[in-house]
């Protein structure tokens, strides 16, 4: 397709020319006000947490008519919506350019659009309506839930998945490889938590550091378990908390086992993170907080103190054995991602 053809295609397909054709300059003003409002809303509200619809509209007055005064009552405070459960959200951009919350029973989008520019989002689909016309909003970033939102949470998800395969699986990260007591990767060193945390911090800074602050936390006690905080510098109000736990056996320098962490340990970490997320929401009510639970899985079957090698059957026994959680916080709350179990393979004899 030639460039003139591409230009012609997007003139036909985009919502902005559509609104211009229907309502003229007043419509263009309205559609830009609405897009600015939507962008501002999504810096404060995470679409993953929205059930139902988001509708934002601006009424177009007949030519020559005096602008309608803004509705009574305060304009919408987007920051206050950060951690509230949101179902349908309806906002009117008034003549002062500010958004006001509205309640409309039996809302008919097509009817509303007869004399308004209307933005409508539902289940990751978004469109603009104007008069009898409607057009979907083209989305340039397929990872985003809206053209007007920065996909912050999903960026970290993707980064963690890469970290599991690129750095942990074969212990290829130069920091992470130091968590092992020997080159065969059977036992972890005693207290490997700080090295695991530093490895993930270094990885995330490389991946996301241009636009995010990635901070390692000093773990004070079991009630303050979070290891890493990730925060966008500018784009929005999200705060991502990462907790790391490990499973397997750790040994001291002389080879004696110092800790054996099995399945119950994974549940403990999940419960701590859930509790911590509740606490944090009270301290930072204007931030949308999401918890990410990383479990470094170094379990080996039939592993005894003093062993220096392991067969493939025992070494890889847990590679595909998923952990089960009860309670499963990730199933019951939206601010808790499904746990990221990252199996770290040993070097086997066969």
């Amino acid at each position: 397709m030639t460039m003139p053809e591409i230009i012609a295609r997007f003139c036909r397909e985009m919502h902005v020319p559509m609104v211009d054709a229907v309502f003229g300059n007043a419509g263009v003003e309205a559609v830009f006000q609405i897009m600015t409002t939507v962008r501002s809303l999504y810096t404060h509200v995470e679409l993953e947490r929205v059930d139902g619809r988001v509708i934002i509209y601006r009424t177009i007055q007949p030519q020559g008519a005096a602008p309608a005064p803004p509705p009574a009552g305060p304009a919408a405070d987007f920051a206050a919506l950060a951690n509230l459960p949101i179902s349908d959200l309806i906002l009117e951009v008034a003549s002062d350019g500010r958004p006001y919350p509205r309640t409309i029973t039996n809302l008919n989008l097509e009817g509303l659009a007869q004399n308004a520019v209307v933005y409508h989002w539902r289940a990751d689909q978004e469109e603009f309506l104007a008069g009898a016309e409607r057009k979907a909003v083209p989305r340039l970033d397929s990872a985003a839930r809206s053209q007007f939102a920065i996909p912050t949470f999903s960026n970290l998800r993707e980064a963690l998945q890469h970290y599991a395969t690129e750095n942990v699986r074969e212990s290829t990260c130069y920091i992470f490889c130091q968590v092992w007591s020997g080159q065969k990767r059977l036992f972890l060193k005693a207290k490997p938590e700080a090295m695991m945390r530093n490895s993930l911090v270094q990885f995330l800074r490389g991946r996301m550091g241009a636009e995010h602050d990635v901070w390692p936390e000093q773990v004070v006690d079991e009630s303050h378990p979070v290891d890493i905080r990730v925060q966008p510098r500018l784009s929005n109000n999200r705060l991502m908390l990462i907790e790391i736990k490990w499973l397997g056996c750790s040994v001291a320098d002389d080879g004696h086992i110092t800790a054996r962490h099995k399945t119950p340990r994974a549940q403990e970490g999940a419960d701590q993170l859930a509790q911590y997320l509740d606490d944090q929401r009270r301290f930072a009510p204007t931030r949308v907080i999401q918890g990410y639970y990383v479990i470094i899985d170094g379990r080996r079957e039939n592993l005894n103190e003093g062993m220096t090698e392991i067969c493939r059957l025992d070494g890889m026994h847990y590679e595909d054995k998923e952990l089960e959680f009860d309670p499963a916080h990730h199933d019951t709350r939206r601010d808790f991602d499904p746990p990221y179990r990252m199996f770290a393979r040993p070097v086997c004899t066969d």
Partner: protein, 199 residues
């Protein structure tokens, strides 16, 4: 330090608009939106020489203007911008001088282009605007040739005018708000880059 008054006005105008959105801005963003505004000036069939200062294209496909660079330094020295952690903020005195300058009739035509360029951030993130603009014919050529070169020289504008003619033709049914061709063109540029990468 003497600096170009057009570039200084553009810096203040863009800084004010971007600051309203994000609170702060970077020097690179002033170059980017200044160049986009200059292209919209051409879309309005005005001469590039009347823009008042030139741009060069870097090897990375980004626009750069020495006049904008000097203006940023000068405006910071005079206290109109302050630097905070690698980003810039406009001060109250910066907004006051912009208010005076924006009222001058000689700035109205360029203000229309600057306003339309900055309004594109309603439809796209700043990063997307940069990605799209890197596909503009002049910056694409700059990327292909590993040296900084002046953009928008008379002899090199034919492809650009071809695209603008297509844009005018496709938008002939709609009004004359410059924000409309700005976002349609950026969308088309972004998509053209995607289709080239997919090949």
């Amino acid at each position: 330090m003497r600096f170009n008054p057009n570039a200084a006005f553009d810096c203040l105008f863009i800084a004010d608009r971007l600051g309203q959105e994000a609170g702060s801005f970077t020097g690179a963003e002033l170059h980017l939106f200044g160049y986009l505004a200059c292209l919209l000036w051409l879309y309005r069939r005005r001469a590039v020489s009347d823009w008042g200062y030139p741009f060069v294209g870097t090897e990375l496909g980004a626009p750069y203007s020495q006049d904008i660079d000097m203006s940023i330094k000068g405006l910071t020295e005079r206290g109109y911008f302050v630097s905070i952690r690698e980003r810039l903020r406009m001060t109250g005195s910066g907004r006051a001088i912009l208010s005076d300058l924006a009222g001058l009739s000689l700035n109205q035509e360029r203000a229309e282009c600057l306003r339309a360029a900055c309004a594109s951030t309603a439809a796209f993130s700043v990063g997307m605007v940069g990605t799209a603009l890197a596909e503009e014919p002049e910056l694409r050529r700059a990327r292909a040739l590993p040296m900084s070169r002046q953009l928008l020289e008379e002899s090199a504008q034919s492809q650009l005018y071809l695209q603008f003619e297509a844009l005018r033709g496709a938008l002939r049914q709609v009004g004359d708000d410059l924000r409309v061709p700005a976002v349609v063109w950026l969308e088309a540029l972004y998509r053209s880059g995607e289709s080239i990468q997919a090949l």
